[in-house]
């Protein structure tokens, strides 16, 4: 006869010393957990509600410019800084942590239309409607960055030595109140006003867009290469992060062109119905780019195959002015003329999030910070606004157990997000009245159009009336 019963000795199941952690035992058997689905649903509901309670996306505004902000640039080597330029020629370097101006770059006479930083973070290139391209040297951040005191003078000396080794021009530094003013290291003049600038990811070429597309070198005062594409001006330009010689441009006659600077003419051209205001390449999938269009949609294209868009992102009610991808490549942020900033998933048709404030007017430029945590928007009301990319995220150092709980909440919410109660809570966003009304109107218009199309189809011979998919609807043709 063999008998065994359960006998648990207290030592095995409790801790030895009071400094030890409590012992935890797991048994994943589902029979120990009755009604687990109902409990999970309850947790999903609580998680959805908590997310809404903690959703405070607005971090702060950076005040200082005296005119609407026209463009921004990220420094790829320095996380805390962002450059912004306004319509009156004022270029500033901001410290995001303290939300103050670190350095000013005065000099442009008219509006500054384009800003970009070289990949090593040393040179800032700006261009404007005064037909000038200016190159500035970016002040090196010291260890005590946030301490804006007279220790800047020692920094001046360090910077001076460093820069003299790089450039042949002598630089003068003037200390005014709490920030720098610098002089450009080079000024190059063009014949026409310039509308955009972007720097190559590897190398020292940068491209400007204006009456034509020009490729410049840092040291040459004339463009190294020029591409003319018909009578219309080139509005925006963006270099590909993966291939250093490929760039995408958009022009005023509704074209999107992809150029290889080693060749003499455009590699690909897409003609759309409305003009594209801005283009951004996906940093994780460099063959794909997304174009922010004047009709309120963003179109994601595969750079190699242009007959149809990969995805149409529809949510803005007015022209989309600027677009920037997150460094994860999974999301992008758009700023639109309808006074809102939206965050879209890279493969989803509708926005995940919308940010708006009564004080924020037309948004002209947006940037996604390089640590994928913040979104910065520059708008017509002379302010730069800092928002959290995930509205209910807890900033700062999170303990591992807290992190696990956040992840669990996300996962359980995702599991039940299709159920009506939870969907209602997760989807809910307050929209400003003009956008709400515009959306209702466009919905009514689209429904009417769809109904009419269906009836036309029902009344005509089968096969004669073909519905165009959204992905090809706004593309007229592909040239070349």
């Amino acid at each position: 006869m063999r008998i065994k019963t359960i006998s648990r000795s207290v030592d095995e199941f409790t801790r030895e010393r009071s400094q030890d952690l409590q012992r935890v035992f797991h048994n994943f058997d589902p029979s120990l957990r009755p009604m687990e689905k109902a409990v999970e649903y309850q947790r999903a509901l609580t998680a959805a509600k908590l997310e809404k309670i903690f959703a405070r996306p607005f971090v702060g505004a950076m005040d200082g410019h005296r005119d609407g902000i026209s463009c921004m640039a990220k420094n790829p080597n320095y996380l805390k800084g962002i450059f912004s330029a306004s319509m009156d020629g004022d270029i500033r370097l901001w410290d995001i942590a303290t939300r103050r101006t670190v350095c000013q770059f005065p000099g442009h006479q008219g509006a500054v239309r384009g800003l970009t930083v070289s990949t090593d973070g040393n040179v800032l290139v700006s261009c404007g409607t005064d037909c000038n391209v200016r190159l500035w040297s970016v002040p090196r951040p010291s260890l005590e960055d946030s301490d804006l005191s007279s220790e800047k003078s020692t920094e001046v000396v360090h910077c001076l030595f460093f820069l003299i080794t790089l450039y042949s021009l002598v630089l003068l530094f003037i200390l005014i109140t709490s920030f720098f003013l610098s002089q450009p290291s080079a000024v190059y003049t063009c014949k026409n006003a310039l509308l955009a600038v972007d720097h190559q990811f590897e190398g020292d070429l940068f491209a400007t867009a204006g009456a034509q597309l020009d490729i410049w070198n840092h040291n040459r005062s004339q463009p190294v290469q020029s591409f003319t594409s018909g009578s219309h001006s080139v509005i925006s330009v963006r270099f590909n992060p993966g291939e250093p010689d490929i760039l995408a441009t958009s022009s005023g006659d509704n074209h999107i062109s992809i150029y290889d600077i080693r060749m003499s003419s455009a590699a690909r051209k897409i003609l759309m119905r409305t003009k594209t205001n801005s283009i951004a390449w996906n940093p994780m999938e460099p063959m794909n780019f997304t174009a922010a269009n004047e009709d309120g949609n963003c179109y994601s294209f595969d750079g190699r195959k242009n007959e149809e868009a990969k995805c149409v992102h529809k949510d803005h009610v007015s022209a989309v002015m600027d677009i920037d991808f997150s460094p994860t490549g999974r999301e992008f942020v758009t700023g639109s003329y309808d006074r809102s900033v939206r965050i879209f998933p890279y493969n989803g048709g509708h926005s995940r999030e919308i940010y708006h404030t009564k004080r924020m007017q037309r948004v002209f430029c947006v940037k996604y910070s390089s640590d994928a945590t913040y979104v910065i928007s520059g708008s017509d009301d002379t302010n730069l606004r800092l928002w959290k990319a995930k509205a209910s995220e807890q900033l700062g150092v999170i303990l591992p157990r807290e992190q696990k709980k956040h992840e669990y909440n996300e996962a359980v919410k995702n599991r039940y997000k299709h159920l009506p109660e939870i969907k209602r809570i997760v989807r809910h966003r307050h929209l400003p009245k003009p956008i709400y009304k515009a959306k209702a109107e466009s919905r009514a218009m689209n429904d009417a159009k769809r109904r009419k199309d269906e009836r036309r189809k029902a009344h005509s011979a089968p096969g004669t009336v073909v519905t165009e998919s959204h992905r090809t609807r706004r593309i007229i043709k592909e040239v070349e």
């Binding site: 063999r2 359960i6 207290v10 048994n27 009755p34 409990v39 159920l419």
Partner: protein, 534 residues
């Protein structure tokens, strides 16, 4: 991309196995099935490609997690289940507790005892979910809270009234006692916290853990559900079947089953006044009911000395055991069934498919067993009887491995407090009690609001007209009782009732139909808009 390659590599390696390891593989697969919790979704019918790929990757993750859980169960669990194996001609049911005591270690033998308290009447027992604390309530008013691990008496009080039933609330800090006129809730140190007057004299008390509902059936046959977190009476249902004191809760789905004197077992949920299910189980009165923890099996015993096992998915009888009439039944975590009658307890096990005799224990002749209950996470059966309570060892009845997040017998104060907060956060609303709890989270096929069909409307109309005809008019006096007036009045009543229905019909169908409307029904769909309308 690299992740997927690595997974494929794993699969390749699993295919090439020596034969003895393949057996283990089969074992693991069987365990895996349990953790998969049902079939995977059918993704072929989806047309949305993005959704399809997302769901496919999720299904893969489920498969991986089920495999990992199966492996953990096989290799990493600290304790193994108890067993009683006899060889040759020996039968397991002839093994006595004294024999077991000789073979088993000291810690376990401490779990075998008899506590004799002859003065305070038959005892009812309840255990907390972790099996650490026990509450004993004697009929003559003795309430005792015992810590089973240290065999410490935490608190005992004498309420000086009959106590018919006792129940723990969500942990050992609170318990409820059904006393002579009302029920009371006490704290751990014996202070009376609440007097539940609304229920009246209660015969049985049970606590639904996930919902924080205290369910009770009283002497008139009313069923009460009360939410103990804020004291609201969620439901009070008149069962209409008379007095009963057989009530059990199904731990799988939270429905309450009542056994009635006509032999029916009815199942109730707090949100409806009518029973969910009514089963005719026995020809005579039902003496006790018990539920298997997996929720599929129910054991009932009737006064005609039969014990029946029912399958709750099909509501069919699976097995009948003749011979004794069990006053009390209890299922253990591993599926053993204990039945107590008189002074004899029999434990039935289903190792051979059907329930058959496993062990038995008979007590001193004078002891009348009042309640048997298996202690969770231990191989122990608690017996409450007329002379106190006893505890016997039943190897193989308890779950050997507990999960600290579900029920921890070695809980510290801090852990208990945290657990209470988490339990409250996860409290389920009473609407989630249903026969099939897996329906929660599933999508119902969307239907537009269904209008009642013509037949249904007709049926309703007929019922209403019959009711109107059956109304008896008051017989008036002083010359006002003319027969013509009476018939006129009656006709008016029927006409009024009929009037309400045609209104509905017209609202549903639309405006009056014109001649030629039938021809319109034959037109093709695209031309229907041109058909002559009002």
């Amino acid at each position: 991309m690299t992740m997927e390659v690595a997974l494929e590599d794993n699969n390749l390696m699993e295919k090439v196995l020596p034969p003895d390891e393949q057996e283990i593989d089969v074992e693991l697969e069987a365990k895996e099935k349990k953790y998969l919790r049902g079939e995977g979704a059918n993704l072929e019918t989806l047309k949305d490609k993005k959704l399809k790929t997302q769901l496919a990757s999720r299904e893969k993750l489920y498969g991986k997690s089920a495999k990992a859980a199966a492996k953990i169960e096989k290799w990493l669990l600290p304790a193994s289940a108890g067993y009683l194996e006899t060889d040759g001609l020996e039968k397991t049911w002839r093994v006595k507790q004294t024999d077991i005591a000789k073979e088993v270690d000291i810690l376990s033998s401490r779990n075998q005892y008899d506590i004799v308290l002859p003065d305070f009447g038959p005892y009812k027992l309840d255990f907390t979910a972790s099996g650490r604390h026990m509450l004993a309530g004697g009929r003559k008013g003795h309430l005792a809270l015992v810590d089973m691990m240290s065999m410490n008496l935490i608190k005992e009080i004498q309420v000086r009234e009959t106590v018919r039933d006792v129940a723990f609330l969500h942990n050992d800090q609170f318990f409820a006692a059904a006393q002579k006129k009302y029920s009371y809730i006490y704290a751990r140190d014996g202070t009376e916290l609440h007097c539940l007057k609304e229920r009246g004299p209660v015969a049985r008390l049970r606590f639904l853990k996930n919902h924080f509902l205290l369910a009770s059936v009283n002497k008139i046959g009313q069923l009460h559900y009360q939410d103990v977190t804020y004291g609201d009476m969620v439901a009070s249902i008149r069962t209409g079947k008379g007095r009963t004191d057989v009530m059990e809760v199904n731990p799988y789905n939270g429905v309450v089953a009542l056994g009635h004197s006509g032999g029916t077992v009815t199942m109730w949920k707090p949100t409806s006044q009518a029973p969910l299910v009514q089963m005719q189980c026995h020809p005579g009165p039902v003496s006790s009911v018990a539920f298997h923890p997996n929720g599929h099996l129910m054991a009932t015993s009737g006064k005609e000395r039969k014990l029946k096992i029912w399958d709750l998915r099909k509501f069919e009888e699976v097995q009948t055991i003749h011979g004794f009439h069990a006053k009390t039944l209890s299922f253990s975590q591993k599926g053993l069934l204990a039945a107590g009658t008189g002074s004899f307890v029999q434990v039935l096990g289903d190792s051979s498919g059907d329930y058959s005799r496993y062990m038995s224990h008979s007590m001193v002749k004078g002891y009348q067993i009042e309640k048997v209950m298996f202690r969770p996470y231990e191989d122990v059966l608690g017996i409450g009887h007329s002379m106190g309570w006893s505890s016997v060892l039943i190897p193989g009845s308890g779950e050997p491995n507990f999960d600290s997040w579900v029920a921890n017998p070695f809980e510290t104060t801090k852990q208990r407090r945290e657990k209470e907060v988490h339990l409250l956060l996860d409290k389920l609303p009473p609407e989630t009690i249903m026969l099939d709890p897996s329906k929660i989270g599933a999508m119902r096929p969307s239907r537009r609001k269904e209008r009642p069909t013509r037949g249904e409307i007709e049926a309703e109309k007929e019922v209403a007209v019959e009711a109107a005809k059956g109304v008896e008019l008051k017989k008036k006096t002083k010359g006002r009782n003319k027969p013509s007036k009476r018939t006129k009045k009656k006709k008016e009543l029927v006409e009024n009732v009929k009037k309400t229905f045609p209104e509905q019909e017209q609202g549903a169908a639309g405006k009056k139909r014109r001649i030629g409307e039938d021809a319109a029904a034959d037109l093709p769909s695209s031309l229907k808009r041109f058909a002559r309308k009002n």
